[in-house]
């Protein structure tokens, strides 16, 4: 061990990324490329009655116009891991605005786009549902990833006898991922096999679904993803356009590139569904929770059962003897939702942590104290102990770094110039999803090391931390280690989703490196110094020496459960907001987060993950919402001028810290996941701070000026 783990190494892929040498999917040079562009439905529900493609077909450069009338029939696919089971261009049904009705392939992108504009469609319109909040009576129970309901203890009895009660509704907005890089797929058929370059968070998952839809063996499909310009969840599941690009390439017998437009990004691969949450709390006068009920309703789609679990965090967060959660969906004429940083715990911690703040106000108790009073030593719903949890340290270190003890609890009591100052806090929680992974580590001639694993780099730092892990075992410099990823010809790995890659792939890399070192030790007949590796290969006349590594969680894959433990990451977020006393526009002024998230492989890239998450939470709190157009049954606008994400001017000083922790129950390297945790709790902390600044409790995100005037 050479202690490479824990060093703040700068990104090894930083230079290629900032110089443009890093090649993203749409930039891949392919001989004979053609270009595909969708024409999409302008109605939310109904049937296509007439399609006139005559002008499009004769437009310059056009090779093919695919519609439901001439697209080959595909095999059915299932959600998950498909984002939706509904495959466009298979029949005349329209279930959401933006659903593709034609795919035009031409010799240039501009010509394909122009021809797509020339496709004329007539529809038979059917009545549609858009706003789920107007149809809560149509809420249904479906089984998504998790059980829809949970129940521990006797809620009614505990609630009725409690001295302090509180019930509030909270509403979170529909949001879109808006990755900087739009979805792009290049599909090329070579001798009956499909070669794809695709913007995906999981090359193997993409291969499985694409092969299934095309009726091929997975071995006939190769998927590559070398760099991703942000995924945030919307490139996790496999979406129809990826499959239709492959179909188009087969039809025109040339490679096809399909890059979705920004507007199409709003209707093609999911969104974070709004949630309407009701939190009911009952407590003793000392702040001890005796009953907690958290209910959530979210919009769902007509075709599939994706559920945003807007109450799930309450199953785990606080020790409470009577605890109920409930999840419902209302089907609407929109494409399905999908995970978005941070799904489930992200939305649910808003309702819970705002309600806790409101309870603290009623009890005249410090918000941190109230949380400590209800600290969960084990999961109150599952009854199991946490594999590791240092949330107490997070609260105290966060409070101390922030200067929380100087807070005057009275709303509106702190000010500077025109600014009302508000200080708020919230907890953060995220389940530690664990997926199996494999990796190969190879010592090459000359002493360099190659790591191979079919994982993905979505901006998190994988190209840096995997070399660190291998370097740590092998005793070489991380700069001498290189990672090759994002290819289904490499050892298998799961999706880069659910904050699972460091833990899973990292453990597989660790295993492979350890086995490689064993081989080297055996070969050398005893301990061998890293600078002797190259000589050893040479003496043995070996070009290279490889070892395969594997990690499998000791429990159900895709959960944070083992037989003995339940696994979560935690944090405490403290924020200051400023609200102009007259103009009432809220701004974040600073944010301090302290996290309990297992072993941190690289504090520099990890810090970047957490501050990125904070900005994500800031957007959720103050800016982001996808507005519905209720008359048309669509989104009002599908662009970044109307959908506001934070810009640099919105982002103040952000501080992120980790408490010292190693969780050997979670993974052999002691790591858990952090990619989503940073985005949790921030919006609640901001809402609580806005209340502290103004005395106005906004329970409806985003908190915009009109809610504070």
């Amino acid at each position: 061990m050479s202690n490479e783990i824990g060093k703040p190494l700068s990104r090894l892929d930083g230079r290629p990324k900032v110089t443009g040498a890093a090649r993203y999917t749409a930039d891949t040079p392919i001989e004979g490329l053609t270009y595909a562009v969708f024409a999409t439905s302008t109605i939310p529900h109904g049937r296509v009655t007439k399609l006139d493609v005559s002008k499009a077909e004769v437009a310059p450069g056009v090779l093919k116009v695919l519609t439901h009338l001439n697209t080959p029939k595909l095999k059915p696919i299932q959600h998950p891991p498909a984002g939706q089971s509904l495959m466009p261009l298979q029949d005349d049904r329209i279930l959401y605005e933006g659903q593709p009705v034609a795919l035009v392939v031409a010799d240039t992108w501009e010509r394909a786009r122009h021809a797509a504009d020339l496709v004329r469609v007539e529809y038979a319109r059917a009545p549609f549902l858009m706003d789920f909040t107007e149809h809560l009576d149509k809420a249904v129970t479906v089984k998504g990833f998790f059980e829809p309901d949970s129940k521990t203890g006797d809620f009614d009895r505990a609630f009725n006898s409690a001295p302090v009660k509180l019930k509030q509704n909270y509403h979170l907005a529909d949001r879109h991922h808006n990755a900087m890089e739009p979805h792009a797929t290049i599909a090329a058929w070579r001798r009956g096999k499909l070669d794809m370059y695709d913007t995906v968070q999981g090359v193997f998952v993409a291969r499985t679904v694409i092969a299934q839809a095309l009726g091929r063996k997975p071995a006939d499909v190769r998927v590559r993803s070398k760099y991703l310009g942000g995924g945030y969840g919307c490139k996790g599941f496999v979406w129809p356009h990826q499959i239709l690009a492959a179909v188009a390439a087969r039809e025109v017998r040339r490679p096809v590139k399909l890059v979705l437009t920004r507007a199409q990004d709003y209707t093609s691969h999911g969104y974070q569904a709004a949630t309407e949450q009701t939190v009911t709390l009952a407590a003793g006068r000392d702040g001890q929770l005796v009953a907690l009920r958290h209910e959530s309703v979210a919009p769902g789609s007509m075709s599939d059962d994706y559920v945003e679990y807007g109450a799930i965090a309450s199953r785990t967060m606080y020790a409470c003897p009577a605890l109920e959660t409930r999840h419902r969906i209302v089907r609407v004429n929109r494409g399905p939702g999908t995970p978005m940083r941070a799904p489930q715990e992200g939305p649910s911690m808003f309702g819970l942590e705002c309600a806790m703040d409101e309870l603290a106000v009623v009890l005249k108790m410090d918000p941190v104290e109230l949380r400590l009073k209800n600290y969960a030593e084990r999961d109150p719903t599952k009854g199991k102990p946490f594999s590791s949890k240092k949330l107490r340290e997070c609260y105290s270190e966060g409070a101390q770094r922030f200067g929380w003890e100087r807070r005057n609890p009275k709303p509106g009591s702190m000010r500077e110039g025109h600014d009302l100052i508000g200080w708020g806090m919230a907890s953060a929680l995220m389940e530690t999803y664990r997926f199996p992974a494999t990796a190969r580590v190879t010592l090459e001639r000359g002493g360099t090391v190659l790591i191979e694993s079919g994982t993905q780099e979505i901006g998190t730092g994988v190209y840096t931390i995997m070399p660190q892990i291998a370097a740590d075992v092998l005793g070489v410099a991380p700069e001498r280690v290189r990672l090759v990823l994002g290819d289904t010809t490499l050892p298998g790995a799961g999706m880069t989703a659910g904050s699972s890659t460091t833990m899973g792939v990292g453990s597989a890399v660790h295993d492979a490196a350890t086995k490689l070192k064993q081989k080297l030790t055996e070969m050398a007949g005893g301990p061998i110094a890293p600078d002797a590796y190259a000589d050893l290969l040479k003496r043995r006349r070996l070009e290279k020496l490889s070892a395969e590594g594997l990690w499998k969680p000791d429990g159900e894959a895709g959960t944070g459960e083992s037989k003995e433990w339940t696994m979560y990451t935690f944090g405490a977020v403290f924020v200051e907001v400023r609200v102009d006393e007259s103009l009432r526009v809220p701004r974040l002024a600073r944010c301090v987060g302290v996290y309990s998230a297992g072993r941190i492989i690289n504090p520099k890239t990890a810090r970047s993950q957490m501050t990125g998450g904070m900005i994500w939470g800031l957007g959720q709190a103050l800016l982001e919402h996808t507005e519905l157009e209720l008359n048309y049954g669509r989104y009002v606008a599908k662009d970044l001028a109307n959908y506001l994400v934070p810009v640099n001017a919105d982002v103040p000083d952000l501080e992120a810290y980790f408490v010292d922790e190693v969780d050997e129950h979670a993974s052999p390297i002691g790591a858990k996941g952090i990619g989503e945790l940073g985005a949790v709790g921030v919006s609640a902390a901001i809402a609580n701070a806005v209340y502290h600044a103004t005395g106005v409790r906004v329970r409806d995100l985003p908190i915009t000026v009109e809610k504070l005037l």
Partner: protein, 329 residues
Amino acid sequence: MKPFVYSRATEAAAAVRQVSNERSAKFIAGGTNLLDLMKSGVELPDRLVDIARLPLAEITALPQGGVRIGAMARNSTAANHPLVRERYPVLTQAFLAGATGQIRNMASVGGNLMQRTRCPYFYDPAMRCNKREPGSGCSAVEGFNRIHAVLGASEQCIAVHPSDMCVALAALDAVVRVQGPEGEREIPFDDFHRLPGDTPQQDTNLRHGELITAVDLPALPFAKRSHYLKVRDRASYEFALVSVAAVLDVSGGRVRDARVALGGVAHKPWRAREAEKILTGARANEETYRKAAEAALSGARAYKHNTFKIELAKRAIVRALSTAGGSGA
């Protein structure tokens, strides 16, 4: 995007001729708005005449103390020109409140005058819009109208003009110089943009083929004391919810003269003359500013989602006047 013919003009007269000869020809300068509209299928020109290299970028002092800004001057250049910074701080502030550094580096002053509304219904041909397709109806009236007008709108159109620069130019009584097929003319700023009325498709009184050559700023010594306040959800890179350009001449505790213009509230940069009347001669204090604000919004009418703009505009006026006027010294 529809195919089009592109040509680059080397002299103004030729550019004017090329565009005026062809109904669907358009000038293109920085292209920061026109290209978006073309990609969205809103603007469908058959010909683009590129005027970016015409020698119209100079910023010069005028004999009587004014300043002439060439139409092709970049927004970033005009914002930071010493003559503008020194004589019309409100204009510099307005420029810098608009868009981003990258866009200001591309956008021309003349093009900024020709910006079209950012109403999302205008931007998407799948929705009805009288501005894009006269007679089709206004989707915003019954739709999502948070960013829409509270002053001077009609049932045909409730869109707002997006420019920050133009709000300052309205306050400064700028004059737009244009060159057309029949020669040159000057358009007072207030007459340049139009209210929607029954012809919302027409943003300005510019005739087809007329080329903006310069914007003249008349001498206004008290403009040294001016302020541009922009209120928006996001701290940068967003159009105004409401904005205020305030220019005050204050001495001996009284307002001697005042110019107030509003952005984000109407189909054109909105000169608040009622407010100016109240301000002129009154004590320079918050009470006066409040009265002025009330007067400026007295004719306001809100729609479902933009009621807040009326109160927000009043508060912004008070703040902008207080900032420009100081405590009344």
